[in-house]
């Protein structure tokens, strides 16, 4: 299968032989996280409690980020997607970069929203600061690199990905602390499972940084992520069953 070389230059981490595997995983993660969002919104409809709405928004953002990621990766595997995109722009490489940026911003906004929900405070200002600062941390280094390098150097995208992983680690550490603390309070096994899920996501985030040099790390990262989302799915099923 022909793969678009210009588009490929943006895809740093993904070993081409694992692209199909990666797309399948991303679709699976998107389905699981969207299921959590769906049930959260359903519970919000009955309870009208903002925490459940915010929780739903967090998982919906994370889910959309995986959908975007899957589309960006699919464009490498299926050149027809690139041809469709070419109807709108000739600068496919930049479109790939925008897709990557969108994915990162959605994912980090999701984690930021989830962290804010776990703070259990009602303050729009605090939410603005948490998510706003996280997005600035993603965009600022990219803007600086774009100002220095034209056309975009792959280093800008490496920088973007590493920044996003560091932010993920930061938010996930907070979430792990919150869930383990919650578990010590409520003794609920499902809360423990969610704490463990976020711990696995943390390990996978750290692990992905190494995939710049070791491709195996990319696969291990995805497997850890899969186990983490399965833990969340199990907690969800156990919570909503009659």
């Amino acid at each position: 299968m022909t793969k678009s070389p210009s588009f490929m230059t943006y895809f740093y981490l993904v070993p081409t032989e694992f692209l199909e595997f990666s797309i399948a995983m991303e679709i699976l993660f998107a389905i699981i996280t969207m299921s959590v969002a769906f049930f959260s919104f359903r519970i919000y409809r009955i309870s009208r409690q903002r925490e459940t709405k915010l929780f739903g928004i967090s998982f919906a953002l994370i889910s959309i980020s995986y959908v975007v990621w899957a589309i960006v990766h699919s464009a490498i595997v299926f050149p027809s997607i690139v041809r469709i995109a070419q109807l709108f722009t000739q600068n496919i490489s930049r479109l790939g970069g925008i897709g990557l940026l969108m994915q990162v911003m959605l994912f980090i906004s999701g984690l930021g929203t989830l962290s804010y929900t776990n703070l259990k405070i009602k303050s729009g200002k605090a939410y603005y600061l948490i998510v706003g600062l996280a997005i600035i941390a993603i965009i600022a280094p990219l803007v600086v690199t774009l100002m220095i390098f034209e056309p975009v150097e792959s280093s800008a995208l490496y920088g973007l990905l590493i920044t996003s992983r560091i932010l993920s680690v930061f938010f996930l550490t907070f979430l792990i602390y919150s869930y383990f603390k919650e578990y010590s309070r409520n003794g609920n096994g499902k809360t423990l499972l969610i704490g463990l899920a976020f711990s696995l996501l943390l390990i996978s985030s750290v692990n992905f940084i190494f995939s710049l040099t070791y491709y195996e790390a990319y696969i291990i990262g995805h497997i850890l992520e899969l186990i983490a989302y399965l833990f969340i799915l199990i907690s969800l099923i156990l919570s909503i069953r009659k």
């Binding site: 009208r48 919150s178 809360t191």
Partner: protein, 91 residues
């Protein structure tokens, strides 16, 4: 010592108190049965009115509260709501 009630439990307790009184109850009864301070009770009642779980009826003898269909739906599905919010640390 009793475990501190979550917000979801307090809402359930208030709605149950109103429901058990055939849907009409005075604030003093809610205060007594729900085991809350006056300020907290007012805060919760205002929230429940805003969310259409409860309606306030004003009459010459004072105020009474009754439960709405949405309030009934909350009570019916409370177990699922409580499980979900407790598991995901939203309580």
């Amino acid at each position: 010592m009793n475990k501190k009630r979550s917000k979801f439990e307090i809402i359930k307790d208030i709605l149950e108190v109103i429901k058990n009184r055939n849907g009409k109850i005075k604030p003093t009864h809610i205060l007594y049965k729900s085991n809350l301070s006056y300020g907290m009770m007012e805060e919760y009642l205002n929230e429940l009115i805003k969310k259409d779980f409860v309606v306030e009826n004003k009459n010459p003898k004072g105020k009474t509260y009754s439960i709405t269909d949405k309030g009934h739906a909350y009570l019916d599905q409370y177990k699922m709501i409580a499980e979900f919010t407790d598991s995901f640390g939203l309580g």
